[in-house]
């Protein structure tokens, strides 16, 4: 941010009158550039006489003086060419702006006139016309940020994305100022994806600048890009002085917007309001703009506007919706601010649903369609809110942007807080004369729903409006009015209006339980209706009073889901209490008690009783118990025909996959250390047996000794020793054979296990994963140098380049240091059996004492297996100590080293960023530092002995067993199954296909149980056969007599046709289909050689999987 130091300050004690110095040609000509600027600065800030404005304008006519201000610079290359003057008094700054804009009134008037046409053209989708107007404006008044932003906008709306990008790039290239280049790039990003980039780029930029203490510039970004109150809190902006950086057109746009906000701000000091009012008065003297804010409009808020606005409102109130829309469309250009009437039109459109309106181009009709869907409660309001928010961001620089933002508040007054909309409504009212009665009401302290008044005579209003008005106006008990309205529910064209009226009445009448019941019943039918209820008030009441009914569970569920996810604790607790007061600990115990045809009960079981809510109950023994509960619930709902069978099937499939994935995750999370002892025993038994025979045959004829070398260690053992003698060397060979196979066998040894399962991949991947997610690591390029960290460089592009370079340097250092730490830890995870100094933790040395013990063991062992087992036990003892050491090293040494590395990084970045906040980066580093600790703990748990070794490759036999287990876990009951699949032990399936095979097989089992007529008691027989490269598995189940008789050959053909038909898996999901179709498709995804056939053999149904 180079420019924030560009203030010009006058000399404190100028001996001559600054104005005279500059005004007098004789003295002015003798002033150096520096002294002239000093004089100008002294005059601008320190001239106290009342004729300041006149004097200023006099000087401004002089080229030399004029060129000290940015107002005249209307080409990109010259933006912010001149510095800004430091002016200490707010009133004086506004006086200066008043003078500057008055001096440029001619071009501003030209601009204002054209802007109205341009904005109308954009709103109505006449984009070629809009572009032509824009170029005309540029031709007459030059370039400005306003021009650049709008050209990018129109090109984006036209879909000319390449042209848009080229234009933006050419502007950036021409710009000589970093801040202006940044603004242009923001305009481009916002046009591309308003919501995303507003959050990622703009709000982050604002936050960074705020934290760096450069509030003037952060407020400038707010003023240009951030709609308030929608995306930011509304506070007085401090960017007034730096608006000098812009030219006259941009100054005009920014100052009028700022003035409206300040004038609408009640808490602002009277002096400030008065200064801004004076400023606007100055502008009004020379600039003709109906959008200039006027307090008179606010003061006359109850006076209705011209006849056209009255007409639109009246047409709406008297239900002449067709005419209302026709007048709005046909007289669009005559309406002072069309955005002020979009709610009326949208509501009319929601009622009569005219097709032509949705087909009309232009942002305003898209907006009307979105608002219509809010009134109809037909689309989740959050989605519509996002859609409208995107338009709000996109058109924030339009003169009607306050009305645009207000349209959202008008459509959902119960969704937002009054404090949010009052100032916005005032600001909107300051800049537009014509608006609806609701817009005016929102600008007051009155409740918009209970204080609403119609402008039409009551006798002309439709019945539902009269009834709703009566309910609002009812004094004391309004039950009669409520009953009257309820009786005419079907006469209210929009249900949202009904709910809003009744919920407002219940709130006013303090009838919380009636409100809760209506709310729960309504939400269970249509969750989008939450915007028609005062949800926050209701949930606060539920929390304070600990209301734990079915209704309260439903309401809190939707509140957490739609409004505030941080209240999930309340959902959990209300849910738990609800079952508690019903004397149950699990939802399924209430399945028979509650009527699942009641929408609320259905929501309770189908939606609320998810894994995430149920697991809080603490009444399930493990994940599979929880899953079985869920399957019990959805089975019941399917049987009761209240959920779609396909929805049921899809969820069960998903649960099966979870079980499979979870099994994999379990393997990943727990003990990984494995040596296949039995395989090793088989491999070396022949050699070991002959060596043991040799050992036993050697007589004590020759000298046997252990030759000690080197100094003795404190415990009396030699540090090194060699054996001599035939028996000793034979024993050593035996020990080496066993130890080498234990440690180094390529298939089953420890080193292979450490290497394949931990060192090469799992460890470094897991350690790096959180860092990579946070983009804190950079890669090494072909030359071995660390690449720049593009992510954080881009995310902080607003920061000065020298600071960024230094930060990048630190991130590279961190990447290198972290990789060194990983390498160091990986070195610990190696095996060492040599008598050398090493950092390796798995070190195996046989000392002289051990050797003596082995001698004895070899003597007493009768078989080689016996000796092998002794030795392996000793090796595992050593390995257990090594693993303990490894866990300790990871949990303490490694964790501390990683911690210190992060601390060092934080310290280095703190130095490098020179006071800039870099909030995102710092948060990422701190968060990752915490997250990685959990991963280190996970890794330390790997260093435990795994007695159930599982490779990624699985045999068909194993997979059939796993599938049965999965099925039983998911279903929560034991299968009656008889199986003979041993012959398929040698047939292996790649790890990548394991899941597909299990899903297929579970579906076959599911099909068998569902269609046998015996349900859980179905008797299943699984048989297999292997012939060369081909094999098959037959799954047979018994059939009830009814099922048996219905399964004729025609039905079997239908099943086969459906299973193998050309429909894709997705088509089947949509249109229904048996589990066999899924099984067939899953197996085909593994290999085209798979086939599935079904047949009825006697009274059995058989599914035959064949391969080859």
């Amino acid at each position: 941010m180079a420019k924030h130091v560009k203030f010009r300050v006058g000399k404190p004690k100028a001996r001559l009158d600054a104005f005279q110095l500059m005004a007098n040609p004789l003295t002015a000509n003798f002033l150096s550039e520096e002294r002239y600027i000093d004089a100008a600065a002294s005059f601008v800030d320190g001239y106290y006489k009342e004729d300041f404005s006149r004097r200023f304008l006099e000087l401004y006519e002089k080229k030399r003086f004029r060129e000290l201000f940015n107002c005249s610079y209307n080409s990109i290359e010259d933006f912010y060419k001149e510095g800004t003057f430091r002016i200490t008094r707010k009133k004086r700054i506004l006086e200066v702006y008043g003078c500057l804009l008055t001096a440029h009134a001619a071009e501003i008037n030209q601009f204002v006139k054209a802007r109205k046409f341009f904005e109308s053209a954009v709103l109505e989708g006449r984009l070629d016309e809009a572009l032509a107007i824009l170029e005309d404006i540029e031709h007459h008044v030059g370039e400005s940020i306003w021009y650049i932003r709008n050209k990018i906008l129109v090109l984006s709306l036209k879909g000319n994305l390449q042209e848009m990008q080229d234009f933006a790039e050419s502007c950036t290239e021409r710009s000589t100022e970093q801040f202006f280049s940044y603004l242009i790039s923001c305009c481009l990003l916002i046009a591309s994806d308003p919501l995303l980039h507003h959050k990622k780029r703009i709000l982050n930029g604002v936050k960074e600048l705020d934290e760096a203490g450069v509030n003037q510039w952060s407020d400038m970004l707010r003023l240009i890009f951030v709609p308030r109150p929608f995306f930011d809190s509304v506070e007085l902006l401090s960017c007034l002085a730096v608006i000098q950086a812009f030219n006259a057109i941009d100054q005009y746009c920014l100052l009028t917007k700022l003035s409206a906000e300040v004038m609408a701000f009640d808490d602002g000091s009277d002096a400030t309001q008065s200064d801004f009012k004076d400023f606007i008065d100055v502008l009004q003297a020379s600039i003709e703009d109906e959008c200039l804010p006027s307090l008179a409009r606010l003061e006359q808020a109850q006076v209705d506007g011209d006849s056209l606005s009255l007409k639109l409102t009246s047409l709406y109130e008297t239900e002449q919706y067709e005419d209302l829309i026709r007048v709005f469309v046909s007289r669009f250009n005559d309406i002072e601010e069309p955005l002020a009437f979009v709610n009326l039109v949208a509501k009319a459109a929601a009622i009569i649903k005219p097709k032509y309106l949705s087909e009309m181009p232009g942002l305003i009709y898209q907006l009307i369609e979105s608002l219509s869907s809010i009134y109809m409660l037909s689309v989740p309001p959050n989605q519509v809110e996002d859609k409208i928010s995107a338009v709000v961001i996109l058109l924030y620089h339009f003169s009607g942007s306050s009305q645009l933002q207000l349209s959202l508040y008008k459509s959902m007054p119960l969704r937002y807080n009054k404090s949010e909309w009052v100032r916005l409504a005032k600001s909107a009212l300051l800049t537009t004369t014509d608006c609806t009665p609701l817009s005016k009401l929102l600008a007051t302290d009155m409740d918009p729903l209970s204080s609403h008044k119609y402008i039409t005579n009551k006798s002309l209003l439709p019945l539902h409006r009269v009834l709703r008005a009566s309910l609002q106006e009812s004094v004391g008990n309004g039950d009669l009015e409520l009953l009257a309205l309820q009786a005419h529910f079907d006469k209210v064209p929009l249900a949202k209006d009904f709910y809003e009226s009744v919920s407002t009445y219940y709130t006013r009448a303090e009838q919380p339980f009636e409100l809760i019941e209506l709310c729960a019943r309504t939400l269970a039918k249509n969750p989008n209706a939450y915007i028609a209820f005062p949800m926050r008030k209701i949930v606060d009441f539920i929390e304070e009073e600990a209301v734990c009914s079915l209704d309260s569970v439903i309401i809190v569920y939707y509140y957490v889901k739609k409004i505030d996810s941080t209240k999930d604790y309340l959902l959990n607790e209300t849910y738990e209490e609800f079952f508690g007061v019903n004397g149950t600990s699990r939802p399924s115990e209430l399945l028979e008690v509650l009527d699942v045809r009641d929408d609320r009960a259905l929501v309770l079981f189908r939606d609320v009783s998810s894994f995430e809510t149920m697991d809080f109950l603490g009444s399930f023994s493990d994940s599979n118990d929880l899953r079985a509960e869920r399957v019990r619930i959805i089975d019941y709902l399917r049987d009761a025909e209240v959920i779609d069978p396909e929805q049921h099937r899809a969820e069960v499939d998903e649960i099966v996959v979870q079980v499979v994935v979870d099994a994999g995750a379990t393997e990943f999370n727990v003990a990984k250390i494995h040596v296949n002892d039995n395989a090793l025993k088989r491999l070396i038994s022949e050699d070991l047996s002959s060596l043991l025979s040799l050992f036993k045959s050697i007589k004590f004829e020759k000298e046997e000794k252990i030759i000690r070398l080197g100094a003795d260690s404190p415990d009396g053992q030699a540090t090194k020793a060699v054996v001599a003698g035939d028996r000793n060397t034979t024993l050593l060979k035996m020990l080496q054979l066993i130890q080498n196979s234990f440690l180094y066998d390529e298939k089953h040894g420890l080193d292979k296990n450490l290497s394949a399962e931990i060192r090469h991949g799992f460890f470094s991947n897991l350690m790096r994963s959180k860092l990579e997610e946070a983009n804190l690591l950079t890669e090494v390029d072909e030359l071995g140098n660390y690449k720049a960290n593009a992510y954080w460089l881009n995310a902080n592009s607003l920061v000065a380049s020298d600071i960024l370079e230094d930060i990048d340097k630190q991130l590279k250092w961190f990447s290198a240091s972290f990789n060194e730490l990983i390498a160091e830890a990986e070195e610990w995870m190696n095996v060492s059996s040599f008598d050398v100094e090493t950092n390796r933790v798995f070190h195996y040395r046989t000392n002289a004492n051990d050797f003596q013990i082995f001698l004895t063991l070899a003597d007493v062992s009768t078989t080689s297996d016996e000796f092998f087992d002794y030795c392996i036990t000793t090796l595992w003892d050593t390995t257990e100590s090594c693993m303990e050491e490894m866990r300790e090293k990871l949990n303490v040494d490694f964790k501390n080293k990683v911690d210190r590395l992060f601390d060092e990084l934080i310290s280095r970045i703190t130095d490098a960023k020179s006071g800039v906040a870099l909030h995102g980066l710092m948060t990422s580093i701190t968060q990752t530092k915490s997250d990685i600790r959990e991963d280190i703990t996970t890794v330390s748990e790997w260093f435990k002995r795994n007695t159930e070794y599982a490779s990624t490759e699985r045999s068909i036999k194993d997979l059939i067993n796993i599938s049965i287990e999965c099925f039983e876990r998911v279903r929560g009951f034991r299968l009656v199954v008889e199986k003979e699949v041993s012959c398929l032990s040698p047939v292996l399936i790649d790890g990548q296909h394991v899941k597909a095979f299990i899903v297929a097989f579970v579906n076959i089992l599911e099909n068998a149980c569902r269609h046998s007529g015996f349900s859980q008691s179905t008797e299943i027989k699984i048989e297999s056969e292997l012939k060369g490269n081909s094999w098959h598995v037959a799954v047979s189940n018994n059939l009830s007599s009814a099922k048996c008789s219905s399964l004729n050959s025609e039905r079997i053909s239908q099943v086969v046709d459906k299973m193998k038909g050309p429909l894709s898996l997705n088509m089947m999901r949509r249109e229904g289909g048996s589990g066999l179709s899924k099984a067939f498709n899953q197996l085909r995804t593994i290999d085209g050689k798979f086939d599935v056939d079904v047949a009825k053999i006697d009274s059995l149904f058989r599914t035959l999987i064949t391969y080859g």
Binding site: G618, S621, S623, T666
Partner: protein, 157 residues
């Protein structure tokens, strides 16, 4: 005086260190353990403890060869504490965590801010939130302080 304490902690290494420390310094105390949110919930509802020492983040279920632990609950310990408070169980509650900050749903919280919230939620039962760092001994001093005051208080009584 002998007290009974429940330690709900899923990290074996950390749990062993804490239990070892408590056994060394409060030899009369009876120490029970739970390794997950669910196990912790079940223990506190079935038994009476003078002190419940909770890790802040916990898996839902005990991890085993066939159980990956279910959903990881960033504030699992806090959820247990809320259950204890709601059920008016009169155990003192002490938290211990090795995280310096917690992040859930994109919002991060510091230890200081959580400490304040826990004090409000647990009221008089709250003994504090201790930061566990295996390389330092400060956590031991803090546990000593928290449990020691409780033990002394009982002696006096």
């Amino acid at each position: 005086m002998a007290k009974n304490i429940l330690i709900v902690e899923d990290n074996n290494h950390k749990r062993e260190k804490i239990i070892g420390f408590i056994k060394d310094n409060f030899p009369l105390w009876s120490v029970s353990e739970a390794h997950s949110f669910t196990a912790g919930c079940q223990r506190v509802l079935e038994n009476v403890y003078d002190v419940i020492l909770l890790d802040m983040s916990l898996p839902t279920y005990d991890k085993s060869a066939t159980e990956s632990g279910g959903r990881f609950r960033t504030f699992g310990g806090r959820e247990i504490a809320r259950k204890v408070t709601r059920r008016k169980i009169e155990s003192k509650i002490l938290f211990i965590t090795q995280f310096e900050s917690f992040s859930e749903r994109g919002h991060s919280q510091t230890l200081e801010s959580i400490d304040k919230e826990l004090l409000v939620e647990c009221g008089a039962a709250y003994l504090g939130l201790i930061y566990y760092d295996s390389s330092k001994s400060i956590w031991k001093e803090k546990i000593s302080l928290a449990l020691g005051s409780l033990a002394n208080e009982s002696f006096d009584n």
